[in-house]
Symmetry: C2
C-alpha cells in the first residue's frame, strides 16, 4: 500500500559547499543553503545542541554529512547531523498507542524497511482497564504523571528490547511517530485529559506539535523528535487520521469506507473530494469484553466457528490449536452467524429450543447454549453462550449497522453498493469473517471482494509518516478536510436501530445473499 519515492525520506546525504574567501558564509548558514539547493528544504530550524557540533562534523567529514530532518507545524527541523559511517543505521519508531495494546515497530529510515516489531499490553491497564477509569485517575497531577510514566516506561523498555534483538541501540533512533486515540494522546504526553469526558468534551490539545523525544521521557537519541498524529476531537483521534493516511482514503477517485470496529466504532467515508467521519459506541460485545466467556485473543481462545452442513453441528478452531478456554469477538460473530444460519436462533436472536439438539439449558431463567462440553474444555467447565451474551452482541451488531447506515446513506447520500472499497481496520477487524458479519446483519451485504482487511492501519500510517516526507502535510490536510458528524441518538436513529436488531434486519431485502 506504500509507494514512496526513494529520495523522499528524512535521512539525507548532504554535500555542503566548502568555505573560501569568496564564500565566507557561516557554517550553519551553509548547511541551510545546501538543504535549500539540493532538497528545496527552506528555512530549516536547527536546534542549539546541533549548532555546537556543526564546525567539528563539517571539518571531519570533508563537508559531506548525513542530515536527519523532520517537520513541525512551523516548518523543517534539522534533527541531527552525523559523519558518514557505513555501519550506522538511522532508525525510527512507529507506534500504535492503543488503550489496551501497544504495537511498536523499528524502521530503517534510509532503506524504509521495517526491521522488527512487537506488541505489548498498555501498562496503564494496571491503573484502569478503560479510558474512563484512567481519566478519572488522572484528575490529580500525581495520577496523571503516574499514568504517563507507566506508558512511557513501557515504550522505553520495549524499544530497548527490540534494539538489542537487532544489535542496535536506542541512540540510533531519531524519529518517533505515534498514533493513538485522543485520550491516549493526552495520557502519553502527560497532558490534562479531564475535559475529554466532561461536557462540552474539550481536549486540551488536538494538534500536538513535534517535540523533543526526551521532553516526554522517551530514551532515544538525545536529539530525537516525537510526532503524534493530530486528533479531530474527543471522540475521533490520531489513530484514525493515521489509518486514513495509510489507506489513502483521501486520494481515492470513488467513495470508499474505512471502519475500525471495536468498543467504539469509528467510521470514515469519502474519497479525494470529501471525507465524512463519525464515531459511536458499538458495544463491548464485539471486543469480547462483556459475555462471561468473552476473552481477548490468546492461546485456546475460539477464533473461528462454522456449522458442519452434514452434521448440523458447530465446529471451531482455537488460537494455536490449544484446548478451548473461551471465545473472542470474531468468534462470537462467527458463532452468532452459525447459530442463525442453522436456525438455532430466530430473527430476534433468541434461542429456538427445538433446534438446539439438547445443547440448551436454563439456569436462573436464562438460556445457555453449550459450545464446548466440559470434557473437551480447558476450563474444567462447559463453555457456553447465554441469551444475555447474545442480546449484547445483537445490540452491538445493530449499533454498527446503524452507524454505517447513518453515515453512508443518510449523511453521504450513497447506497452501500456505491462504495468501491470497504476497508476494515484494527486488529480486531482483521479477524472478522465478512461472510459471518453480513449473515448477522452487522456489515452491509455488498460484493465480498470489496472488503479489504487493513490490519493495524494506525501503525501503518505511523510508519508511513516516518518514511515519506509528504506524509506530515498530508496528515494535517486529512485532519482539516474531515467533516465530523455527531451521532445524534434521536428518534430517527432509534427507529433505524430497532430494525437492525433483527437477524439480519427487518428489511430482509437488504441482505439478498443471506440464505435464510
Amino acid at each position: 500500500m506504500m509507494d514512496i519515492a526513494d529520495d523522499n525520506g528524512y535521512v539525507l546525504n548532504l554535500k555542503v559547499t566548502k568555505p573560501s574567501l569568496e564564500n565566507n558564509t557561516a557554517d550553519v548558514e551553509r548547511i541551510k543553503q545546501a538543504l535549500k539547493d539540493n532538497f528545496k528544504i527552506n528555512n530549516i530550524k536547527i536546534c542549539f545542541d546541533i549548532i555546537k557540533k556543526i564546525p567539528h562534523i563539517l571539518r571531519e567529514s570533508n563537508h559531506e554529512i548525513k542530515a536527519v530532518i523532520f517537520r513541525d507545524l512551523a516548518g523543517w527541523i534539522l534533527v541531527d547531523i552525523a559523519k558518514e559511517d557505513k555501519d550506522q543505521l538511522f532508525l525510527g519508531v512507529a507506534a500504535d498507542i492503543g488503550t489496551t495494546r501497544v504495537v511498536i515497530r523499528i524502521v530503517d529510515l534510509e532503506s524504509k524497511q521495517v526491521l522488527i516489531e512487537k506488541g505489548f499490553d498498555n501498562p496503564q491497564i494496571t491503573i484502569g482497564p478503560d479510558v474512563l477509569s484512567r481519566i478519572h485517575y488522572a484528575k490529580d497531577q500525581k495520577g496523571l504523571e503516574e499514568l504517563s510514566y507507566l506508558l512511557i516506561q513501557g515504550f522505553n523498555s520495549n524499544i530497548s528490547d527490540l534494539c538489542k534483538k537487532i544489535d542496535r541501540k536506542a541512540e540510533d533512533i531519531y524519529l518517533f511517530s505515534g498514533a493513538g486515540n485522543t485520550s491516549m494522546t493526552h495520557l502519553f504526553l502527560g497532558v490534562e485529559p479531564s475535559g475529554i469526558i466532561r461536557e462540552p468534551y474539550i481536549p486540551c490539545i488536538n494538534i500536538p506539535d513535534t517535540l523533543k523525544a526526551d521532553k516526554v521521557g522517551l530514551n532515544l537519541n538525545p536529539n530525537a523528535v516525537c510526532f503524534l498524529f493530530p486528533n479531530i476531537g474527543s471522540y475521533f483521534g490520531g489513530d484514525l487520521i493515521s489509518g486514513i493516511l495509510y489507506c489513502n482514503l483521501n486520494k481515492l477517485e470513488k467513495p470508499c469506507i474505512m471502519v475500525d470496529v471495536g468498543t467504539n466504532a469509528e467510521v470514515v467515508v469519502g474519497c479525494k473530494d470529501w471525507l465524512v467521519a463519525c464515531a459511536g459506541a458499538a458495544g463491548p460485545a464485539l471486543e469480547g469484553g462483556v459475555s462471561d466467556i468473552g476473552m481477548i485473543a490468546a492461546p485456546g481462545v475460539i477464533d473461528k466457528v462454522s456449522i458442519n452442513k452434514d452434521t448440523n453441528k458447530l465446529e471451531f478452531t482455537t488460537i494455536e490449536n490449544k484446548t478451548p478456554v473461551g471465545i473472542c469477538g470474531s468468534g462470537m460473530i462467527d458463532l452468532a452467524a452459525a447459530l442463525f444460519l442453522s436456525k438455532k436462533i430466530d430473527i430476534r436472536g433468541k434461542f429456538i429450543k427445538t433446534n438446539c439438539n439438547g445443547r440448551l439449558f436454563n439456569k436462573y431463567d436464562i438460556d445457555y447454549f453449550i459450545i464446548v462440553d466440559k470434557e473437551d474444555s480447558g476450563t474444567g467447565d462447559n463453555i457456553c453462550i447465554s441469551q444475555v451474551d447474545l442480546n449484547s452482541l445483537t445490540s452491538s451488531k445493530a449499533a454498527m449497522y446503524t452507524i454505517l447506515e447513518v453515515i453512508v446513506c443518510n449523511t453521504a447520500g450513497l447506497s452501500f453498493d456505491d462504495l468501491a472499497k470497504f476497508y476494515v481496520a484494527g486488529t480486531f477487524g482483521s479477524f472478522i469473517n465478512p461472510e459471518s458479519a453480513i449473515s448477522i446483519g452487522m456489515l452491509p451485504d455488498i460484493k465480498r471482494d470489496k472488503f479489504e482487511v487493513l490490519g493495524n492501519s494506525s501503525l501503518g500510517g505511523a510508519t508511513k509518516l516516518l518514511i515519506d516526507r509528504a506524509a506530515f502535510d498530508e496528515a494535517g490536510k486529512i485532519r482539516k478536510s474531515i467533516t465530523y458528524i455527531e451521532l445524534n441518538v434521536n428518534a430517527e436513529f432509534m427507529n433505524m436501530f430497532s430494525g437492525a436488531k433483527f437477524y439480519p434486519h427487518t428489511d430482509k431485502s437488504r441482505f439478498p445473499s443471506v440464505p435464510v
Copy 2:
C-alpha cells in the same frame, strides 16, 4: 528615538473563547484562534511545558489570560501564559555584550520602561583581554565552556542583583535580547569560534535562532527565551545590526552615517534605500590601550583637555575630579588637538620643542611632553605623553579618516557634506569632542550640528527588540540589506592613509574650519 505603538509589545491581554457544545475546539487551538483573531498572530508555536498548564490556567482565569509571545526564525512562539495578577510584572533583559564591558538593562515589557541598568566587566577578561586571546583559549572544548560559563554566570549574578534592587525575581524575566560582536556571540553561546580568526574567516553561525534561555545557562523564568542579534560576518557583528535598528538608519530619507569608534572602527552609511558597511582596525590608541599612560575611563583619568588661550597652557578635567592618574582615549584626542592648535606639534604630529615652554624632555632618544607635574599627579610621577604615543594616535586617526573616506566617498560616491547625520555610537564615542576630532583630522569637517551621540546604540537596539514586535523582522531585514565591503589595504588605500597621517590632512582644503 523610539516611537513604538502601545499595543505592539510582547505581552498580550488575551480573551479566549469559552468552550461550548457548539465550539468544542481543544484548549490549545482556542488559544491559537484567539491570538489569530485579536492580534493577527498566526500559527504560533506552543512549547510542551506550557501546553501542560493551559487547561488549569484557562479555567482559573475565566479564560482571560496574559500571554507572553516572541519570535523565532520560523514564526511566533508562545513563551508563557499567566493568570491576571495586578502585582506581576513581565520583564525583559536587554544586553550589550561587549568584549570589555557588558551593560544590562531590565525592561518592563508592558509599560516599555527601563526599570534599572548596570554595567560590569566582561568576566572573560580574566582569561584574556581581547577577542584573539580568548578564541585561542577556546580551542579546546574545556576552554570554550569555561569562557561561556564565565560570561553567563556574570549575567546571572548581575541580573539577580538588579532584580533584588527593584524587588523582583529573575523568574519575572521572560525575554532576553543581547547584542555583541561575532566573537562575543559565539562565546556567549559556547559555540566554536576558531573559524572566525582563521582564513577564510568563517563564523560557525551568523543568524542564531531564538532559543530557550536555560539552554545557554541563563537563570531566568524557566520558559524564558533568548535572542541574539545576527552577525553579517566575522568582522561585523550583531551589536552593529542592533545599533542600526536603534538609530533607524535603514528608514531615513537622506544618507547618514553611523560610526562605532574603538579598536575596530565599524562604519555603516546609508538610508532607506541602501546600506553599506565596513570595519577596519583603527588602532588601539583610540581606546587608551597602547600609550604608557593610556587607561580606560576610571576615577582620576583625564577625559577632557583644552588650551587656555590667555596662558597658552593645557587645562584638563578628570573623571570624578580626582587627582590625575592617566588619560583615556577621548582625552588623547583632545590633547592632540590642543597640542596641534597651540602649535606644540606640527602637521606631521611631531613635537615642536621651541613651542613647548620647557615641558618637553628627551629620554633614550624619545621626546616626552609633561601633561601633569609630579607634584600634582596621583601616580607620584610626571604624567607624560611620548612621541611614540602620539605617533600611534596619528596612525589611528588617519586610519579612521581613511575608512570614512573609502566608504563615504569611494564606495557610496558621496561627499561628507551629503551626510544628513553623523551618528557616533559606542561608549567611547560618547566622550569624543567632535571639535577636537575634526581639528586633528580624524572626523570630517562637517557642520557640527550633524553630529549626534547615540550612546550605547547596541544596548538601545537590544531594548527596542524587547518592546516592539516589528523589530525582530526589521533586524533580519537590516542584516540582509547591508552590503559589506572588505577593506582592501591596497596601494590606493595606503595613498589615502598617507595623506590622512598629517594634521589635519595634506589637503588642508578639506578642513576649512580648522584654524591652523
